[in-house]
Every structure is written in structure tokens, then in C-alpha cells.
């Protein structure tokens, strides 16, 4: 159900140590998220575009992903220009669009796309299992790492269980409508899924115990920091510091 579309590739970005990529992705997104000036945001967008190009991903797929998020941002464009107080820029009938509103909406658009592109280039290029392992190495809490990995693995199984239940309902002539019977049946469905998932979690844990699991993950892949990683890390840190500087100078 979840396809890891971007994990296969031979690019420089793919060859980087996942830990380095995670650190850069986190720092970059935090800095971009708190920046508010276009003098910092536009260079940030350029940096993430550069990363995408460096990762040599299928542009069509990247574009499709961006489309999904920008669909949401479209709603901001529908509302923000008209609800934000400020200098009038244009009018549509009784509605007045403000300059501040438009600027604010464009700021969010640039931010979102810059962060998303960086995430695609840096995080989506790591296979999920390595991502979990790298999170482990970076001292993320064990529980978060396990939750992350198991959610990934079992969403598919739970989805299949959901399909089976839905089919069982359809086989007995269930047609959803706007009535109590429908609401109750859906509530049963969700409740049943929760109970089943809980039971399954229990069984999986037991199966893992039987194979010597003691709360620690070991993986086949070992990470090693290479010259390329250090170079990349220093370059990106410099870029991020640069972005902070641009933001600071613009507001100071």
C-alpha cells in the first residue's frame, strides 16, 4: 500500500549516510519554518530544488507529490487575501484582497514547498527500515522508532482486515445511508479493527520474543560516515547558517 518510490537510486544523495540526511532535514525545516522574509525563503527554496536535482528523482513523481500539498495550500489562497487586515490590493465584487494577505499566503506557499522538497530529497530517499535504524542511532526514543516501523509494516495488514470486514458487510446487503443503523455499523467496524489490531500487536510481540527480541533492534546494514558525508554536512550546515543570517539581517 505504501510504496517507497524514491528509495532506489544511485545518486550522491542516495549514497549519503541516513543519519546525516535526517540531521540536515530537521535543521533545514526548523529554520525555514521560522523564517518569515523572502530574502531567506527564496534562497531556501533554491537550496531544496538543488537537493532534488542532486537526488536525480523522477520529476513527474516529485511534481505529483507537490500537487497534493499545494491542493491544500490553494484553500489558503482562497481565504487569506480576503481575511487579512491591510492595504487593499484588488477587489472582487464585495471582497477586498489585501497586499499583506497575498504576501502571507505566498510566504506559506514558499515555505511549504521548500520544506517538502527537502524532505523528499533527504528523507524519502531513505528506505523506511534504514530510516528507523538511523533514528535509533540518533538516540530518538525507542518507542517512537518502534511505533514508526510497525505502523509502516502493519498498515497494510489492518487495511486488508478493514477490506474483509467491509466486504462481509456488503455481502449481507449493507448499504450506507444517513441513519442510525449505518452509524452503528461503522462504529462496530472501527471498534472491531481496533480490537483486532490490538490482538495482532500482542501476537507479533510474542513472535518477536520467541526469536530472542529484547527491546533492541539490530539491523543488517551498518552506517559509516564517509568523506562525502562530512563534506555534505558541512556544506549544508553552512547553507543553513546562511539562511539564518539572511533572515536575521532582513529583520534587524
Amino acid at each position: 500500500m505504501i510504496e517507497e518510490q524514491f528509495t532506489t537510486g544511485e545518486s550522491f544523495i542516495h549514497s549519503l549516510d541516513p543519519r546525516v540526511k535526517i540531521i540536515v532535514a530537521i535543521l533545514f525545516s526548523v529554520v525555514v519554518a521560522v523564517s518569515s522574509n523572502f530574502l531567506a525563503l527564496l534562497p531556501a527554496l533554491a537550496v531544496s530544488l538543488f537537493l532534488i536535482i542532486l537526488a536525480r528523482l523522477s520529476m513527474r513523481r516529485v511534481f505529483y507529490r507537490l500537487l497534493l500539498v499545494n491542493g491544500l495550500i490553494l484553500f489558503l489562497w482562497l481565504f487569506l487575501p480576503f481575511t487579512y487586515q491591510g492595504e487593499a490590493l484588488f477587489t472582487i465584487g464585495p471582497l477586498v484582497g489585501t497586499k499583506e494577505g497575498v504576501l502571507y499566503a505566498s510566504q506559506i506557499t514558499v515555505k511549504c514547498n521548500a520544506i517538502l522538497l527537502a524532505m523528499i530529497a533527504l528523507l524519502a530517499t531513505i528506505p523506511v527500515f534504514s530510516l528507523g535504524h538511523a533514528m535509533n542511532e540518533l538516540c530518538f526514543p525507542d518507542k517512537i522508532v518502534h511505533l514508526f516501523l510497525f505502523t509502516y509494516r502493519y498498515i497494510h495488514v489492518i487495511f486488508q482486515e478493514y477490506r474483509r470486514l467491509i466486504n462481509a458487510m456488503k455481502m449481507r446487503a449493507f448499504v450506507p445511508g444517513t441513519n442510525m443503523h449505518t452509524y452503528r455499523s461503522y462504529a462496530y467496524l472501527v471498534g472491531m479493527l481496533l480490537v483486532k489490531s490490538y490482538d495482532r500487536a500482542e501476537r507479533i510481540h510474542r513472535a518477536m520474543l520467541c526469536r530472542g527480541f529484547n527491546g533492541k533492534y539490530y539491523t543488517l546494514s551498518r552506517f559509516s560516515i564517509k568523506i562525502g558525508d562530512i563534506l555534505y554536512l558541512s556544506l549544508m550546515l553552512a547553507a543553513i547558517v546562511g539562511l539564518v543570517f539572511l533572515q536575521w539581517r532582513a529583520t534587524a
Binding site: P127, V128, F129, F150, Y152, R153, Y154, H156, V157, R200, R203, I204, R206, A207, M208, L209, C210, R211, G212, F213, N214, Y218, T219, L220, S221, R222
Partner: protein, 243 residues
């Protein structure tokens, strides 16, 4: 029989699930080194429960458990024993949790303290032994039912267990995969307990078959396995006969 050849020793085990009636009632059971035992019985008769008690996943309300000559009562004791006893679960989806086959098969060996190289190596060898060539990079949840069962078996065998416990290994499999699993199991030189309601399978793979009936386990009347040939309509299709 020497006492040191006693691998699993259950004495007077009783067990019930919370709020439910007794599943096991003062049961005693022994597995000696080299024994191949089949457990037959209807669903809900406590076969799975018995296996889970041996592994320490469920704790009996009374009774004594000895594994490899040592009493086992705490998690620590069972943790030690689990390194030497392999249990195959009924539902392969419970067993396979890693994204790829190789990672899943290597999970056990890694937990045993092998280096990633050794673990990967023994995983590949086990897969090859089960005829699963080229499976290592397959995605676990995209495997077919039969493939999942075989890979689950590989995950257990990769740990090189001394004792093998299998819970309904042929359940829901087509004829061909059933035969494949039967052949693999016949070729293993391990002490084992196979739980199944498929008597044909048990008689092919084990030396002794015990029966579990009426929600109590009575191990005092071993059934005599006997191969026989019979014919009826649709006999070519996979099917089972009631004991």
C-alpha cells in the same frame, strides 16, 4: 531414558484464560531429545496454548516447567530457552514484521548476537535450504500465503534451534506447498512438536501422535499412526479427514 535427555518437562500444568473455563487440566508432558511428537485435536482444544506455555508466553496457574533440565518460571529462564527452541506461529503475518525477507530471517540470528555479516550469511543459507532462492529482497507483505509460511519457517530455522514447535504449519495451504513443507520437515534432524488437525500430515512427519480432546489434554492414549489408501469423489482436491 536418561534424565539429561529430557528437553521439555511439564508437570501438572493447569491453565485458563481470564474469565474462561479451564483449558489445560493437570497436564503432564515430556519431550525427550530426538522425539518427534504430533499433537492432534479440534480447534479451541488448547494446542496453541500448550505451545505458548512451553515458550513462556503464557504462564500456567499451577504446575512446573523444566526446559533443558532447568526449572523455568521467570521471564529470564524462558528468554534463555527461547534461544534454543523455535516456535512457528499460526499466522505468518504475525511472524514476518520486517520489510524485506532477508531482514526478517536475519532478525533472530542478530538477536543471538551474530554480526550482521554472519546473520546475513546464515539467513541466505537457510533460505536456500528451503528452496527460496532470490527471495531475500522480496517485500514480506507482498508474498503469497504459501511463500509467507515458508519464509516464516526460515525465520525460525535460521536460529538453528534444537527443538522445533510448529503451530498448524499446513493450515490454509494448497496441496503443493503442504507437500513441500512436509518434505522439509521430514528432512530435519531436530526434536519437535507439531500441532495440527491434519492427521495425514502428522503421520508423515512425526513418530508419535497424541490427542487433545474435550478441552482437556490427555496424553495417555497415543493414537497409532497408520497410512492407508482410500478413494472417493473429488479426492484429488486438497482436503482433510476428521480423526
Amino acid at each position: 531414558m536418561e534424565s539429561n535427555s529430557l528437553v521439555i518437562n511439564l508437570e501438572d500444568i493447569s491453565f485458563s484464560y481470564p474469565g474462561d473455563k479451564l483449558v489445560l487440566d493437570h497436564l503432564s508432558f515430556h519431550l525427550h531429545h530426538g522425539d518427534r511428537i504430533g499433537l492432534a485435536g479440534p480447534t479451541g482444544s488448547g494446542k496453541t496454548t500448550l505451545l505458548h506455555i512451553i515458550m513462556g508466553l503464557l504462564r500456567p496457574s499451577s504446575g512446573r516447567i523444566e526446559l533443558f533440565g532447568k526449572p523455568a518460571s521467570e521471564e529470564k529462564d524462558f528468554r534463555e530457552a527461547r534461544r534454543r527452541i523455535g516456535l512457528l506461529f499460526q499466522d505468518a503475518d504475525d511472524q514476518l514484521f520486517s520489510p524485506t525477507v532477508l531482514e526478517d530471517v536475519a532478525f533472530g540470528p542478530l538477536n543471538l548476537g551474530k554480526s550482521p555479516e554472519e546473520a546475513g550469511d546464515s539467513a541466505l543459507k537457510t533460505l536456500a535450504r528451503l528452496g527460496l532462492y532470490g527471495f531475500e529482497n522480496r517485500i514480506t507483505y507482498k508474498l503469497s500465503g504459501g511463500e509467507k509460511r515458508l519464509v516464516s519457517l526460515a525465520t525460525v530455522l535460521a536460529m538453528d534451534p534444537e527443538v522445533l514447535l510448529l503451530d498448524e504449519p499446513t493450515n490454509g495451504l494448497d496441496e503443493e506447498t503442504q507437500e513441500k513443507i512436509t518434505d522439509i520437515l521430514k528432512g530435519l534432524n531436530l526434536s519437535c512438536i507439531f500441532v495440527s488437525h491434519n492427521l495425514d500430515f502428522l503421520s508423515k512427519t512425526t513418530d508419535k501422535i497424541y490427542a487433545i480432546t474435550k478441552r482437556k489434554i490427555s496424553l495417555d492414549e497415543p493414537l497409532a499412526p497408520h497410512p492407508h489408501i482410500h478413494a472417493h469423489r473429488f479426492g484429488r482436491l486438497p482436503h482433510e479427514h476428521k480423526p
